[in-house]
Amino acid sequence: MEILLLGLIIIFILEYNKKVNTSKFIKDNEHYFLILKEDNYDFLVKAKYGDKVDPNILFSQRIKNGFITIIAFIFMFLTQLTFINLILSVVLGFFVFKMQYSSLRSYYKKHLHQIDSMLPYFLKNMEILAQHYTIPVAISRSIETAPDIFKPGLRELIEKINAGDSTIDPYMEFAKQYPVSDSIRMMRLLYRLGLGSQEDKHEQLIMFSKSVSALQNKAREEKYKLRLQTMESKTMLMLGATGGGVMVLLVLSMVSMMNI
């Protein structure tokens, strides 16, 4: 314990006086560490933090945390340093290293699910507004009532349209910002709805509303299915926990009876 404290103090002092620099060590050996980097890491970081954060800096932070964990555990096991303890500390360091990645990934999954479930509601709203207004006006009117998750994307979209971009690009960028399977298709439909002349609009609107209905139906069914699954798993958990407990009780009683 004392060794650990002493080591920590010495490292802290050296680091503080710029005698050693751990970040430089990581930066110098970066291309070795890049082997450890997951393929979609950059993408996940961008999805969560946008452009504000540099994935490389975050990655070197991860490596640093992993190393610190390994070294700390080695110090802790220093008095009984066996091979298993060494492996254990490496595994723990790797676990710390992977932790951020898995949290990013689970965030991304949750985020996608939220978009998936909210998109039909937003599009239904758009469908009603599109009957009375042109598409850009309908979009700007829908911002207030749109689900919160879409608001920033919508603001960007409307800004680009107002700046004079009448191509499909702003719509596609919106779809890319919310990358669920239906968003690209629906945004393309929306763009075409905006392009069409007033006479065709009615037919196109009917087409659009049919797609939205199908989407809504799908989302609803998905929701119900998920809810039933949760209920089922709750029941199963209850059965498992209590039934298992009773089993253990029975076994215990049998063992004690043998002893008697």
Binding site: N217, K223, Y224, M231, K234, L237, G243, L249, L250, M257
Partner: protein, 87 residues
């Protein structure tokens, strides 16, 4: 639009029926599990059961089983009743 409402009503009704069957099964299981503890008593016979009860671990286990079961029942019941979702 009318077709939409039709499918919506159908979906909601179907879901409600499914949920009520699930709910019933859930409650039945929950109560059966309480009965399971009584069954253990019956299987072991009163005398052995009483001697077993003197052991602290058995006492602890029995309490834990009842508490865990109650927790699951209440938690599940809350879930069934609250998460209806307005359509």
């Amino acid at each position: 639009m009318l077709l939409d409402i039709d499918t919506l009503v159908e979906g909601v009704l179907k879901d409600r029926m499914e949920r009520s069957t699930f709910h019933k099964a859930f409650l039945q299981y929950g109560i059966l599990l309480y009965l399971l503890v009584m069954l253990v008593q019956y299987l072991l016979g009163i005398d052995t059961y009483l001697t077993l009860l003197d052991m602290t671990i058995v006492k602890f286990l029995l309490h834990a089983i009842i508490l865990v079961n109650s927790y699951f029942l209440i938690n599940g019941e809350k879930y069934y009743n609250e998460n209806v979702g307005a359509e």
